[in-house]
Every structure is written in C-alpha cells, then in structure tokens.
Point group: C2
Chain length 397, copies 2
C-alpha cells in the first residue's frame, strides 16, 4: 500500500508534463509541492537570458563539480545571515535538489548492510530511496518535540549489542515532513553529541527552513555541529522544483568527497545551467522580498486550513499548528486509519497522505495535509470535505 | 595515478565556473568536451523564454518522472528517423545526462558483489563511478573491431565456474571512448545474443552517435535487441553539457523501473527545466541543421589533428582515423607509457589522457587526444608539440 500511496495516491496521466496532476473533482491535499502561481517565472526568464548572454560560456559547459562559484557565494551569504554562522562559498556544494543529494550521500557514505536511522514518521519518498538500497532502515520514536533522543540512545545501544553498523541518521528536524514539528532546542544539542559519540553521520533534510511563519526557524543541526552533519537545502520550495537546484553544507572533507564522487567527476555540476540561472536570479536582489512574500502567503494558507479544520473535524480528531513548512498532521479517532479513510475522502473530493506511507513499519490513525498548493478558499473547502469524510467513515464503522 | 589523471590531469582553480580550465600555455587535448563556441546559446535563450512564457506551469513544477512528454516525443522521432526503428515517446526516458543515467542504473540494477564487465579500455570516469560501488569490475579485451566477443564468452564461462554474478556490461560500442573504434556489425549481433543467453544487461553508452563524420553510425545495440540493452543518449556533445539532459531507451519494464526508482519518485524529472527548454529548442526545427554543422566542423578538426599527427609523430607511433566522436587514440613506441610521456608533453605545452586512466588494470604505450575543443590551427599545433615531446622522451630514454 505505502509504495502506491507515496506516489501521490495515484498515477499521473502518461502524457502529463508534471509529476502531480490533480484529478477532476478532487482537492489534492496529498501534493506536498509549492503553488506554481507563486513561481517567479518572469524573473527566472530574465535570469536565463542573462546567464546565456556571453554565449553561455559559464552556464553551458560542464560545470565545476561543486557548482557555479557565484551561486555558492550568494548562498553562503544567505546562510550566514540567516543562521549566524559565517561560512564562505567553499563551504557550499550545489546539488540537483535534496533528493539527488540524498541519493549521492547514500552512494558515497554507506556500505551494504549499514543501518540508517529515521524518525518513525518521515518523508515518504526518502523511505523509497532508502528501501531500494542494501541498507537496513531502523525507525526511532518521535513526539511533538521531534526525535526522541533518549530512544535514539537506547536504539544505538541495542544495535551495538547485536553488532549492527548504525551509519547515518536521516532527519527532518525543522518543520518536519510529515508532522510539521520542530526538534526542540535542547534535543538538538544532545542529538549532535550522540551522533558524534557514536560516529553516526546526520543527514539533515532542511528544505523548509526559509518558510517559517511565526518566528525564525531554530538553529540547524549543521550550524551546531558542522562536523557531524550534512545539511540539505533546496530552492524547490522557494523558487521552483523544476529547477532541480539544491545545496549541501557539511565539513570540508565530506564536501570534497561529495564533489569528487564519480557522478560529479563525470558530468560536473548536476544542475549547471539551472544553477547558473538561479545565480543570475539571486543577483537581481529580489530573493529576500520574494521569500517574505512566500512566508506571508503560506502563513495565510496554513491558517485558513487550520481554521477550517477546527471548524469541521469531528470530535476525536486533532492537530497542532506547524510553525513552518507545508504540512498539517491530523490525528484521527482511534481505530480509523488514514489508509482506510482515504477512499472515503476521495469520494468526498479530497485527498491526503495517510500515515502508513510515512512510516517505515506499521500504521497509526493519522494523515498529512499539504497547505502549499491551493489558495485559502480551496483549502477551507478541503477541510470541510475531510470533516464530512471522517464523519461518514465513523458512521459507517 | 589514474584517479588524478582522470580528473583532467590537474585540478581546476577553486573559483572556476566550469569543470575543465586550460592552463596557461598548455593545449589541453585531454579535455573530451565540446567547444563552447559551437553552443547554440542564442537559440537556447529563446527556448528558455518560451518555456517560461506561461508562467512556467509546465517547466517549473516537479516534472513527470520520465521527463517532459514533448521532449520524449521529439527524441522518439529523431531516433526513429536515425535508426530505422519506430519508437514512441513512451519508449524514451529523460535523464540528467549519461553519467546520471549510469549512476541510477547502477543503483537500481546491480547488487553488492555483482560483476560489471567493461572493455579493457573504457571511459575513465565511468570507471570512477563503478569503483566507488561494491561491484567487481572485469575488463574484456577489445581490438580495432571493438569488444572481443569470443573473449567475452570465455570470461563469462570462467566467471560462472567461480560462481560470480556477471550482471551488467558497460560498453561504448560506437565511436568508442577512448579509442574511437566501432564495434563491428557481425560482433554486434553476436554480443546481444550472448548477453541474452547469459542474462547480462548491456548498458550502451551511445553519446557520440549523432557525431559521425564519414558515414552513418552503425546500428545501436539497443536497436538490435531492446530487451537486453539500456542505451544512454545525451545532448551534452550536441547542444551543451551544462544542460545535463540525456535520455534512455530500453525495454518498457526497465524504463518503468528506472522512472519509478526512488530518486525520480522523489524529485521528478532530474533535469525538468533544462529538459523543457531543450524541448522548446527542438521545436524551433533547427536541430538537424545544427547537427549537420557540428559534423562538418568536428570532421574538419579530426582531419586537421590527424594530418598534423601524420606529419609530426616520430616513427613507431600510430593511430587510426575514427569515424566519429571526439577522440584519436595514439599508440606509442613500446616501452614509452602515456603516463611517463605526460609531464614531458606538458613541458612542451600539450596534454592528453594517458592509457592508464582508461584501463581498469595495467597500462600500455598509448594515449587519447580529443579534437573537440579547439579550432583546427590549434589542433595542428598540439600535434606538432606532441611529436616534439615524443621525440624528446625517446631521446631521453
């Protein structure tokens, strides 16, 4: 079930130009993607033209393995300002989005049989990437303060006792996908300490950092301990996912290993042209303003969905307001699984990602709603439909 | 030695925007890349603007896993016309260049401990990708007619006897990198037969097919036996490598496995924006003319380098004129290895890729010259310098 559901609950038409295509009559709150109406298409078109103005002599050849120096410098400045950790362009490597970065990290930094630790709810499609490798995925409990670091210590002790090799922890510590929670500050310090003690590499999927709605995002794990963390950033949520441009911050040694892995040695920067265009877009100086606009709009959407959920969800359901990112995690009355609710909800014209798709093992009565793709009135209607669907499912049970 | 040499014989400056940067005073015949002067930058700029005209609603979201349908259709038409094998857009999947395609094929279609067969001279950076995986690389002898299929049969029998799992054969059958040779027609038929009998997947790196200078390229292995071959094509040599757009033709089952692997399920098409721009470029209808112009220009360069080599190489050296691609393979007098010659050549102001970088094991007195990057007069001067360097090395020996 989870494989199919992870793929957006249904297959897109064979001739679709994009990955996720809404079905007639269904509000697809399953799609965790930004709204195309918010893409700065005109600015990107100007940036492309500028990146090609000199005959494309920088943008069109094989790119430097680590990516366009101008983009790396601008990202370093952005990160240094946002995270109060001074870094230089050399400390940033450009990727083909966080998925491509995770894929290469698994190739370069794991061996067959290694244990990869994940939160017991996690990004469903990262699970897909982990499962197709000869790795063992071990879920660690999490709660409303994120990963349970005490449980992590217990798991590491148990794994050591059986001679297993815990190599890597994949975590979405900030505006977690799917639950929206943030790892508590005191747990962050403890987590990087544990990782250092046990020689576990933390892969911090940090793609929602710039989309905080109430207060600045908490300090990244990378900023606390750059020697034990590889942190994945992305323009997929803040500019456009089709660019396939992301970045990586990590220790100089790990960045060098990544940039001189076989894939980048062969093809150079994996997103050279789009990364060059992105650098030209950033050079225009409107990115901060664009980000501020996104925060305002997505905050509005979060609130619209939350308000309508409060109004329409039957008793026994619950959710917490996320401080950023794209998702609200809804808990259902005991006994009603998201997977069982989904067909009922789709008949009511709304979809979501059931908890089972986000869990390495097992299920729970919960589901993920994305508030990123639709305007506020559509989100409000989606919550109304979900409320009716839950009511119908409970009545039918 | 080979690791370092494979990386273009030297490290590019840290602030370089592109992967390969020529050193002052050195003609870098080591760089197997197209000449930026031949990139259709203006046409690509117009294509980018057009791909973004509708607000980027097709080009900027997560792309369909298999790539933009329009690009897949246009490629299918191009392939069907060139290879006399009717195919549809459904039979083509867009990749991030052949390197990215090979990387994913290794992730999805091999298991730890598998044997990967390669020609005993092969693409140096593919070797790098193979070596960082838990795979065993076994070289198969080749000669001036390409891979020795009788030797392949012997190797498969020997591997079977020791219980090894030969899973995949990586081959550059057409305008081979580094030697420039083409696999003979009668060997092609036999090769796909052997692969089918032994259940070995052929990965055909076919990126030079459109750059044939004397007569059309021979039938691809894929066109002979689509059920046993995954064929990698690319726009890196014919449009621009920085686009990172390539393609894959294979059986429907293997294409589906590739398109629904974890990486593409997560991020959609790995080069969505550049692939959309490429589709818009092809829609302009100038690509065939552009290709004809490239063939004319690169033929001229091949001939200029060959003529000058004939004039300037000392006795005991040799080479064969390649029918396409980017490379001339020069054999040296016995006892003079390319690796030993390289520092002498660099002092004379010319570089090349020594044979050792292209061989899984061992060395031989030979080297690869690329005629793709420089105009004819520079290539002629490069051959002159190489001749002087060989003379100096022989005199010093």
């Amino acid at each position: 079930v989870s494989e199919e559901l992870a793929d957006g609950a249904h297959a897109a038409p064979a001739d679709a130009a994009t990955q996720n295509v809404a079905r007639e009559g269904v509000l697809e709150l399953v799609f965790g993607e930004p709204d195309p109406a918010l893409f700065p298409a005109a600015g990107l078109a100007r940036a492309c033209v500028r990146a090609l103005r000199d005959g494309g002599r920088a943008a069109l050849p094989y790119g430097a393995n680590a990516g366009p120096p101008e983009l790396r410098r601008r990202l370093a400045a952005h990160i240094a300002a946002a995270e109060a950790r001074p870094i230089a362009g050399d400390d940033v490597v450009i990727t083909g989005g966080s998925s491509q970065a995770l894929d290469q990290i698994l190739t370069l930094f794991t061996d067959p049989g290694d244990v990869v630790l994940v939160e017991d709810r996690t990004y469903s499609l990262a699970l897909g990437m982990l499962r197709e490798r000869p790795l063992r995925v071990v879920p660690i409990p999490m709660d409303n303060d994120g990963l349970d670091v005490t449980a992590l210590e217990g798991a590491l002790a148990a794994l050591a006792a059986e001679g297993a090799r815990p190599r890597l922890l994949y975590t979405v510590a900030t505006f977690h996908n799917p639950t929206g929670v943030c790892l508590a500050a005191e747990r962050r310090g403890r987590l990087v300490q544990i990782a250092a003690e046990h020689d576990v590499l933390i892969v911090e999927d940090d793609v929602y950092r710039d989309l905080s709605y109430d207060r600045p995002a908490p300090a990244s794990l990378w900023s606390l301990a750059p020697d034990v963390v590889m942190r994945l950033g992305s323009f997929s949520k803040t500019l456009a996912p089709g660019l396939r441009v992301g970045w990586l911050t990590a220790s100089p040694e790990r960045l060098a290993r990544f940039a001189h892995g076989g894939l980048l040695e062969s093809g150079g920067c994996v997103s050279q042209f789009a990364a060059s265009a992105t650098a030209a877009y950033l050079a225009d100086g409107y990115y901060d303003e664009h980000l501020a606009g996104l925060r305002t709009e997505y905050r509005r959407r979060r609130d619209a969905l939350a308000d309508s959920l409060t109004e329409h969800l039957p008793a026994g359901c619950g959710f917490a307001l996320p401080g950023g990112g794209f998702f609200i995690w809804v808990t259902l009355p005991p006994g009603l699984s998201g997977a069982a609710l989904l067909p009922v909800a789709e008949r009511h014209g709304v979809s979501f990602l059931p908890a089972a798709a986000c869990r390495p093992h097992g299920d729970e009565p919960a589901l993920r709603l994305a508030f990123s793709l639709y305007p506020t009135d559509v989100l409000a209607e989606g919550a109304r439909r979900l409320g009716r669907a839950v009511g119908a499912a409970l009545a039918g049970a």
